[in-house]
């Protein structure tokens, strides 16, 4: 059987399939459905320094083969994550990635300092959050802003640092290169695409924040393009995601240059879909006579 093991940021992933941030909680609920230890890793719900209650109003909206969400980073805060969730997550026998968001640079830095002293394997810096000091424009839109943020974080970060890019970035290749230069050791992408829905009967936006994030199969072709662009723009490894719902989808991302993939929305479509995805990837490799998955990373 083909080798699916990947060494990513010096951590061994038993396979390239990671549960995506915000779609898998802290793994506990899905662990009641299947042994989440079969996954390569789990990216935690997006954490912020201080806990957040998240957004009010409608938080979910289905679109053609897509899902819009406006959860607003409801989370217990970094400290509570470390004290309440970390230990249980560690028992799952998979890599634990702490997804960290922040409204100010100071929040990011303080969050990283706390995580430095925790058991997390990797920090995934989510720069899609609105920068409260810069009028709500996300850290991940302009390369210069991202560069400064990542550089400052890198200086104090003692964990392997993966930066999660937003597809709303002005220029994804430039953004990828800027984050690499600033010291990111890996990239993950894409986060959700800015999108909108209107309730025509109520004559107002469905979401209280007007815009919300689009994910799911609908965005896969765009995500794949961006992963391909980012992977071509940098030397560091890339973790690809956006609409992955099958082993074939995952293989597309690997061929486009991703060393790992994350699965988000598809978990909702079928709760144990990651089990299928891992199996389908293995079947594909075997059927095509590919001995090692690393042989096809970025071959397109």
């Amino acid at each position: 059987m083909a080798n699916m093991k990947i060494c990513f940021l010096d951590k061994i992933f038993k396979n390239p399939v990671v549960a995506a941030s915000g779609t898998f909680g802290f793994g506990e609920e899905y662990n009641e459905i299947y042994d989440v230890g079969i996954l390569g890793g789990i990216s935690s719900k997006g954490l912020t320094l201080r806990g957040k209650t998240g957004n009010s109003g409608i938080r979910l909206w289905e679109t053609p083969m897509g899902l819009m969400n406006s959860i607003g980073l409801q989370n217990p805060g970094v400290e509570s994550f470390i004290s309440q969730e970390m230990e249980k997550m560690k028992t799952y026998n998979t890599n634990i990635i702490a997804n960290l968001g922040g409204g100010t640079l100071e929040d990011y830095l303080e969050g990283v300092r706390l995580l430095n002293n925790s058991d997390v394997d990797i920090i995934e810096l989510n720069i899609s959050c609105p920068n409260v000091k810069a009028g709500g424009m996300a850290f991940g839109i302009k390369s210069e802003v991202a560069y400064e943020t990542v550089k400052a974080v890198k200086e104090i970060c003692e964990k392997p640092l993966m930066v999660k890019l937003s597809p709303n970035a002005e220029n994804i290749s430039e953004m990828a290169a800027a984050c690499e230069e600033a010291g990111a050791e890996a990239l993950s992408l894409i986060n959700t695409l800015n999108a909108m829905a209107i309730d025509i009967y109520q004559r107002k936006a469905v979401f209280n924040n007007t815009y919300a994030g689009l994910s799911g199969p609908a965005v896969k072709p765009v995500a794949l393009r961006m992963v391909h662009q980012a992977a071509k723009a940098v030397e560091i490894p890339v973790c690809g995601m956006g609409g992955i719902s099958s082993g074939k989808d995952a293989i597309e991302f690997i061929m486009a240059g991703a060393s790992l993939v994350q699965v988000g929305t598809a978990n909702f479509v079928k709760a144990d879909i990651c089990v299928d995805i891992i199996r389908e990837m293995e079947e594909f490799l075997d059927a095509e006579g590919i001995k090692d998955i690393t042989d096809i990373i970025g071959i397109v």
């Binding site: 779609t23 898998f24 209650t53 979910l60 969400n69 199969p217 929305t265 909702f268 479509v269």
Partner: protein, 244 residues
């Protein structure tokens, strides 16, 4: 609890726009729990949350209203084909807590989960109140549970004309259990809290994961945001912060 394929034993229309689907399942649910249900080749993404309407001998019965594309697709599914189900999910009603005279008040398709409750609690001192707009269903089933059943329709075609909430003499009851449109439940919760009657409400929210992971279905409570799918769908009315 796991995602599995269930065979459709029966899928019939019981009233205009109301269908009943019977499935093979392997776990006995608690009244008030629900399943995430999805056809295999649906042209939509998310499974739909549907309550347990009845359960007997490994058979799960769902009573559902066509209220959009997903439920429309569900209504077209044929016997002997398979559906994807995840469940039973959620807390369900706390049957132990049901003591003393209890009013069970359902509105529209919100009556669906109450039948299994009434059936499982045959011995409880329970009065059933069912409110509909115009089309009624399941009334006989409820009557067969042995509990007293009061029906109201907005157009007066069956039972009392008007809102079923107006048929209830709240002070007779130690506890009220309700499921229905938000506006109805909010009214009942306010009344019960005022009258210091125990009140449990089964809520509906848009769901994605159905298991407590995505935080898409939260409702505000005095103890912070709670997930309707995992911490609910049944909540103590006193805990809820009502929207209007």
């Amino acid at each position: 609890m796991k995602t599995s394929l269930s065979r459709i034993i029966e899928n019939i229309k019981v009233a205009e726009g109301i269908y009943k689907m019977t499935l093979d399942v392997d776990t006995k649910p608690v009244p008030g729990q629900f399943y995430m249900v999805k056809g295999l080749n649906g042209d939509y993404l998310l499974p739909r949350p549907i309550s347990v309407h009845d359960y007997y001998d490994g058979k799960l019965v769902l009573l559902y209203r066509i209220s959009g594309h997903g439920t429309d697709m569900m209504s077209r599914m044929k016997e002997d084909t398979e559906v994807q189900v995840l469940g039973p999910l959620g807390n369900g009603f706390d049957l132990e807590a049901i003591k003393g005279k209890t009013a069970v008040i359902g509105g529209g398709i919100g009556t669906a989960p109450l039948y299994y409750l009434a059936k499982e609690m045959k011995k409880a001192d329970m009065d059933i109140y069912l409110g509909f707009k115009d089309i009624v269903y399941s009334i006989e089933d409820f009557e067969n549970t042995g509990h007293s059943v009061t029906v109201a329709t907005e157009d007066g075609s069956v039972g009392t004309k008007g809102f079923v909430t107006d048929c209830v003499d709240y002070d007779k009851y130690r506890m009220v259990i309700t499921c229905g449109p938000d506006i109805m439940m909010n009214k009942i919760i306010r009344t019960c809290v005022d009258h210091k009657i125990d009140i449990y409400a089964s809520l509906e929210k848009r769901m994605a994961c159905g298991v407590g992971a995505c935080l898409g279905c939260v409702t505000e409570t005095v103890n912070g945001n709670k997930r309707v799918c995992k911490d609910g769908p049944v909540f103590n009315g006193k805990e809820l912060i009502l929207s209007e």
